[in-house]
Structure formats: C-alpha cells, structure tokens
C-alpha cells in the first residue's frame, strides 16, 4: 500500500440546516488501490461523509485533501473531474435511454466528444473485464447490470475513487459475487473503493481497512486481518442486546392468504407458472429463492397489481382483484424497495399518514393527528428524525425503512407481506424488526416473508417454500429447512 493517502478528510463536521449533527470531527483516509469499508448503525453518518467527499454537500468544518492539495468542491462535478465518483443504491440512470446514451450524456458533460467517449468506454470495459449491453434500454436491465453500467460510467469518466453506498441491497447472490470480482479488478487497477454496507460478512470478505462510525464519530479504523464480525458489531453499537428469540407460537389458525395455481404473464413472458401456497393465521411462511425467480410478481399478484391469466388470490376466502381489496380484507405490505412507497420530498408525517390511513374513509386530517402518529412511530420504533415536517428523503436509509415498517404495522394488518423487511437496517434494528415479525405471528397475524436473505428466512419462518423459475420447487418445515436443502431446491 502506498504511504501517502490519495484522499484525506480531516476534522470533518457536519450540521444539517435543521440542526442535526451528522458528523463530528471525523478523520478518514483513503489509500490508492484499497477497499475501505464504512460501517455504522442507521444514521451514523456514512452516507453524509461520502456525500461530502463527492461534493454533494459541504462540510460545516474540516478539510478535504486530494493528492496533497486541499480542495473545496462547489458541486459533484468538481469531485468527478478530480476522479471521485459515487454510485448510489438508487441508480442515477435515465431508464428510458439506452446504456450507451446514458454513458455518452455523462461523458459529454465531462467535455468529451462522441468518438473520445466511445473509445473511453471500450477501454474501460476492457480494463474492467466488464460486458454491458450498450444498445439495451436501461429500464429493461436487471439491477446488477445497471450497477455495472454505473461503475463503467464512473471508470470511463476517469474515476480513481469509487464510492459504493450499500451496493448489494438490490442484488442477487450471484450478482453480489460478480460485484466482488469487479471490486477486486478495480483494486488491481489502482482504483480506491469506499464500500458502505450493513452486511458484516461482506466487510470481512473484501475490505483492506474498515472504519466504524458511531453517532457521527469515528470509533475505530482497523486493518481487516482477523477481525471477527462480533467485534465489528460491538464497535458499531457498543453493547449488543441479546437476540430476541422467537416468541411462543400458537397453533396456526385459519387460512389467511390462499394463492391458488397462479399464472402471471409480464410482457408475454410467463413469470409465475402455477404457484400455490397458503399462509395461516399465526404463522410465518418464508419464501426463499434467488431474487428474480418470480417473487416480485408473486407479491404484485397477491396485492392485485398484476392480473393473473389463471388462478386466484384469496384473503380469508375472498378474492383479491385490486390493491383496494387487499387492504380492505386486512392485508398489509412492507415493500422490497422503499422508493416504491415513500415520496422523498414529502414530510415524514405525511408519508406515515399516507401509509397508516390506507383504505380509510376518513376525510379531515389534522396536523395534530399526523403529529401523534409520528410520535407513536418514533417511540415504538426508535425512529431518529428531526420532526414530522422534515422531508422523508432526508432521513438516513434505515430510518426511512422504520417509517415504512412502523406505519404499516401500526395500521394493524391481519396478514403482512414483508419483502426484504430488514434491507438497509443496521444490526440492532434488524433484530428489532425480526423480533417484531415474530411477535406479530405470536399475536395471530399471518406473515408472508419474502426475502433474498436466506438466514433471515430460516431464522423466522415456521415453514419455508422455495421459488425457482416462477415455480415453487419445494416446501420444508422448520427444523427440516437447512441451507443445503434450500440450496438444492433453489437450483431445481
């Protein structure tokens, strides 16, 4: 490793205009060709620190030194020109344009002409060993490929530093492996990578060094040789509460959700090829499987958003034909992607009320009611937010998730469809949400847990079904469901 850092952030503090102290006197160094992970609980300030490096926001104090020169960014373009690029969890690509068009737009704003841009892209593809379909429309591509487009965009724009903010949250396990090999490749090319994640195994697997933030301060910067995941977890949260454990379950009751022989076509392609399942009151049915094997379509069909060509969805024996039916019959959902349900510019209170009052016939909605709802979510779900009037987009990712989960759970659904419910949550909150699902089941709520995280499915579910290629390839009872058996069914 080189001896002088490529990027050095010194004494960085950040107080947001609404008074939130996000960072306090943070030092952060990045050496050429290293993978440096940033760890910390929700709201610890990881994204904030990197947005400062990327020039998107200005630090309240402190300085940034790049290649021995102090820099002051007036916006991301300054950072980009200096070779610093950031890839967000939600990609910043124009979905209606092709990959090539997206790349050309970006590169031309860096002052390159068409021919130069083309040759840069080709060169970057070659150096990275990446193949992306240049003529495909971005909107048609899977998330993993879009991410590769983002990385390619950054590298062909001359990035020497690549910031990845929770890059694996929308990826399938295979795509995660592919991302790791891209990261390895970047390293060997001398590109430095900042890697933000909540998944500790990823951290120990690919980082050279790790910086842990807690409430806006650095608590440790360590080399990744032999640190255990437990140690990292302790650094992040101080003391870790004992695992909640599964509450005692009643005997499962009546069938709450019945999916019968569901066949769904999307753009003429058969995505669900006859899926049947039943979730009973008081149990958690886990749906395991590599993302992209029909889970999304299954959830959309259960909600009544996708019309099946065959088969039906019943809640307590009554058919669901639209989202309205779904909610009226007692259904609730935690969607897999927060942006599907939150409106970033609207306030925390408004977003919460929108979710909480779904299906309600209420007319007047007073600020007092919204505030009371906000308080309840804040108290019960440990939400960290400046207040009900702050735009929800300004909360850290994990706290946005708490708004979604909190509002929906408070609504009191009798059947809860939870899709990757702990995505983007830190360890403590993940435990909290898992405990919550468990408690709900103990109280008689039927839970359908669709998660790409196999550990999560195995930990929580009373029964597990495995989806592969639009079919259910097997069902395993709790205790019988081992990662190996599920793995076999996932490939079936």
């Amino acid at each position: 490793m080189a001896t002088t850092p490529l990027v050095s952030m010194r004494g960085i503090s950040k107080v947001y205009p609404d008074g939130v102290k996000a960072l306090e006197n943070v030092d952060f160094d990045l050496y050429p060709g290293e993978v440096h992970s940033l760890l910390g609980e929700n709201g610890a300030g990881k994204t904030t620190l990197m947005r400062i490096l990327y020039g998107e926001i200005r630090p309240s104090s402190g300085k940034i030194i790049v290649e021995d020169r102090e820099v002051k960014w007036s916006g991301p373009w300054d950072a980009i020109r200096a070779g610093i690029a950031m890839v967000y969890q939600h990609f910043r690509l124009v979905e209606t344009l092709t990959v090539e068009e997206n790349l050309l737009i970006y590169l031309s704003s860096l002052g390159l002409n068409r021919a130069e841009a083309r040759s840069r892209v080709e060169e970057a593809m070659e150096r990275l060993g990446l193949e992306v379909p240049l003529v495909a429309r971005v909107g048609d591509l899977p998330m993993g490929v879009r991410q590769r487009v983002e990385i390619l965009k950054a590298i062909s724009g001359g990035a020497k530093v690549l910031i990845l903010d929770e890059p694996t949250s929308n990826l399938t396990p295979l795509e995660v492996e592919a991302l790791f090999s891209v990261v390895e490749r970047l390293k060997s090319l001398g590109v430095s990578v900042v890697y933000i994640t909540h998944k500790l195994w990823e951290v120990t697997r690919i980082s050279d060094r790790i910086t842990v933030l807690r409430r806006g301060r650095v608590v440790a910067t360590l080399k990744n040789d032999g640190v255990s995941e437990e140690e990292l977890a302790r650094l992040m949260v101080g003391e870790l509460a004992e695992q909640g454990g599964r509450g005692a379950r009643r005997k499962p009751g009546k069938a709450a959700l019945t999916v019968r022989n569901l066949r769904v076509l999307v753009d003429g392609v058969e995505r669900l090829k006859g899926v049947s399942l039943t979730v009973r009151e008081g149990e958690i049915l886990g749906v395991a499987g590599v993302a992209g094997n029909g889970q999304e379509e299954l959830v959309a069909a259960i909600l009544g958003l996708l019309k099946p060509v065959e088969g039906e969805v019943l809640l307590w024996g009554k058919p669901v034909r639209s989202p309205r039916d779904f909610y009226k019959l007692g259904g609730g959902i935690i969607p897999g992607d927060r942006s599907q349900i939150l409106a970033a510019e609207m306030s925390v209170g408004e977003n919460a009320a929108f979710i909480f009052y779904t299906g309600s016939r209420k007319i007047a909605l007073t600020p007092g009611e919204v505030e009371a709802l906000y308080r309840e979510i804040k108290d019960r779900f440990h939400l960290v937010a400046p207040g009900p009037d702050a735009p929800v987009g300004r909360l850290s990712g994990g706290n946005q998730q708490k708004v979604v989960v909190g509002s929906e759970v408070l609504r009191g659904p009798k059947l809860l469809v939870a899709v990757n419910p702990t995505q983007g949550l830190d360890i403590a909150t993940t435990r909290f949400v898992r405990g919550l699902l468990s408690d709900l089941a103990s109280q008689g709520v039927a839970v359908l847990l669709v998660s790409a995280d196999l550990d999560e499915v195995l930990e929580l579910s009373d029964r597990v079904v495995v989806m592969s290629g639009g079919r259910i390839t097997g069902e395993l009872a709790r205790g019988d469901a081992t990662p190996e058996k599920v793995g076999v069914l996932m490939g079936a």
Binding site: D18, G19, L342, Y357, P367, G387
Partner: protein, 362 residues
C-alpha cells in the same frame, strides 16, 4: 403545525420567485425607459397599481385566482393544463346566454362550471385512454372555443343596438355589488363599491382548495399521485380517477371564472372577446409565482392584477403602451421556467414540476 425553522426554510425557498419577479420588473422598467419614460416611477406605479383602477384590479384578481388554480391543480399530478383560456370564454358565453334570458345568476353559476368541467374531464380521458398530450388537446380546444365564440358574439348573441357587443345580461342576473358610497375607516377613505362580491367567491374557492389539499386524507392521496405515482397505486389510490377529477375541477374553475367575469363585472362580451381573453394564460404566471399553492395564488393574483391596473394608469401617466404589464408577466414566467430548468440540470431539487414537464420528462 410547521415549525418556525420550517417556515424560515420555506421563505428562503422563495428566492427563485423573488428573483423572477425582479427580472420581470427589470424588463418592464427597461421597456419604459426605451419609450422615454421614467423607469423607477413606472415600477412604483406598476407594483402599487391597485390604487388607480381598483375595480379593474379586483375583478382581475377574482378571475386570476380561479385560472391560477386551474393551472396549479392539475400540475400537482403532472398534467399541464393550458385550457383555462378557452374555458373562461366558454363560461362567459354561457353566462351571457343564460343571464340574458333568466333573471337569476344561479343557473349560469351552475351550468358554466359544469360544462367546463366536462370539457376538462374529456381532456383527461383523451390523455389517460388514448395518450393524447393534454397540452395539444387544450390548445386545440382553446382555438375551437375562440372561433366559435367569435361567431357567436357577432351573430346569434349580437345586440342589434350595439353592434360592438353581445346582448347584456338582465339586471337580476348580475352578481351584487356593494353600496358605492365612500366610507371612512380608521381615517382612510374606502370605496367598497370597487370591490366586487365575486372576489369573495374566489377567495372562498382558494381557501377550500387549500384546506382540501393540505388538511384532508383525499388531499394527501392526491399529492401522493403527484409525488410518487407508483406509491399511490400500490396503496390502492385510483391514480387515473384522481387525474380525471383534477382536470374536471380545473375545467370547472375556468368556467366559473368566465361566468363571474360576465355576471360580476361587464355584463356582456365585446365582439373581439377582449373582455374575456388573456385571463387563462395569465393564470399560468399566477400559479407559478404562487408556487402552486392556493394561498400563494391569492397573493400572486393580487400582484398580477395590480400590474394590470398600474399599466393602464401608466399609459396615461407616461404615455407607454399598457402592454408593459404583459411583458413583465411574460418575463416572469420565462424567468421561472428558466430557473426551474437550471435546477433540473444543476440540482436534484424538484421544486418546479413545471420545468420537467415543459422539458418533456414525465
């Protein structure tokens, strides 16, 4: 309740509006200077124009509140409605037809909004079912109504005694005015007769729009349709129905605007339609300066109507054409669009949906 800090942030957030208004006034001042007038004095006259022809200003304000809302309400759900211009004419025509035959203002006050609401809903249906861009359809409908109206005022509705205008509405059909004596209030002389009663209608409508948008659950859903359409759909909101209603309400308000213009002020329409044209398009500026907020629209309509009255005075005072007001108006809208466009390119704050839509990004 919004916190004090939130309020501060909101006020700071008004800088693009302030800048645009300043730019518009600068254009106005420069024009006056070109004509050899005194630019500074003219600006004072324009901004404080209310005092010169309060009756013109207040009736304009009443109408502009409604046409401003007619632009703002669909804009919040991503629809660019420029059909108010035509529907004001339609509403005015209906008021003349009914008002000249039935001795009561009630029938036109019901029929004009209803008919215009149907046109608005029709535009929405074209958009939702056949994907016909509402900008195109409203422009075409504007022209259809315009030419039809020109024919109607010149032929079937013409007043044989006064060839320059239509028949007059019956006295019983006119909306009341306050008594015209002057009053002394706190040492000020006030002429209540200059404030038309229809201003009250418009302000009540604006207050209702404000409450419905921000303090009701259906209003919250309506705002979600604009802010995150797929979220609204996911939560069981009928997105298409909301858009249809938004366009219908917008249409209805435009028709109402035309009706109150005739019933509350002129009582007839002139053969070149000058008494009912211009308000619809001016509503776009009113809505933009009012930041698409019903109360903001009330405030900005006061400003725009002052411009109208002030520029009429300017013509006498400085000998410059009263079209200065239109220039100021146009420059403001242009500046707002340009700033919003710059935001699109430079920043990610979607503070003006308008620019996105203008730029064809839906």
């Amino acid at each position: 309740m919004p916190s004090l800090r939130g309020l501060g942030e909101r006020i700071v957030g008004l800088w693009p509006i302030a800048l645009s208004v300043a730019a518009g006034l600068a254009v106005g001042g420069a024009t006056v200077a070109l004509y050899g007038g005194d630019p500074l004095r003219s600006l004072v006259v324009l901004v404080a124009g209310l005092q010169y022809y309060p009756d013109i200003a207040f009736i304009a304000m009443s109408v502009l509140i409604l046409t401003g809302l007619a632009f703002a309400i669909p804009l919040r759900v991503g629809l660019f409605n420029i059909g108010a211009e035509g529907l004001v004419i339609l509403g005015g025509l209906i008021a003349v037809v009914l008002g000249s035959r039935i001795p009561s203002p009630i029938p036109p006050l019901i029929v004009a909004p209803l008919a215009s609401a149907i046109v608005g809903a029709f535009v929405a249906l074209l958009r939702l079912k056949l994907n016909v861009n509402e900008v195109l359809s409203t422009i075409m409908i504007n022209w259809i109504i315009y030419w039809t109206a020109l024919y109607a005022v010149a032929k079937p509705l013409a007043d044989p005694q006064y060839p320059n205008r239509t028949v007059r509405i019956l006295e019983e059909a006119a909306l009341p005015r306050w008594p015209s004596e002057r009053l002394e209030i706190l040492g000020f002389t006030v002429y209540p007769g200059t404030v038309p009663s229809v201003l009250l209608i418009s302000i009540v409508v604006a207050l209702a729009a404000w409450l419905a948008t921000f303090y009701t659950l259906p209003g919250l859903r309506y705002r979600f349709v604009g802010a995150n359409e797929s979220a609204a759909r996911l939560r069981g909101t009928s997105v298409d129905l909301v858009k249809l209603l938004a366009m219908a309400v917008a249409g209805g308000l435009s028709g109402l605007a035309g009706a109150i213009l005739v019933l509350g002020h002129v009582g007839y329409i002139d053969v070149v339609l000058s008494s009912v044209t211009g308000y619809g398009f001016e509503g776009i500026g009113v809505a933009l300066v009012g930041k698409n907020h019903p109360l903001g629209i009330v405030a900005s309509s006061l400003f725009f109507s002052s411009l109208r009255s002030g520029s009429a005075w300017l013509q006498i005072d400085q000998g410059v054409p009263d079209k200065v007001a239109d220039m100021v108006n146009g420059a403001i809208v242009f500046a707002i669009a340009a700033l919003a466009g710059a935001h699109l390119v430079l920043g990610h704050r979607p503070w003006e949906k308008a620019a996105k839509i203008l730029a064809g990004r839906r």
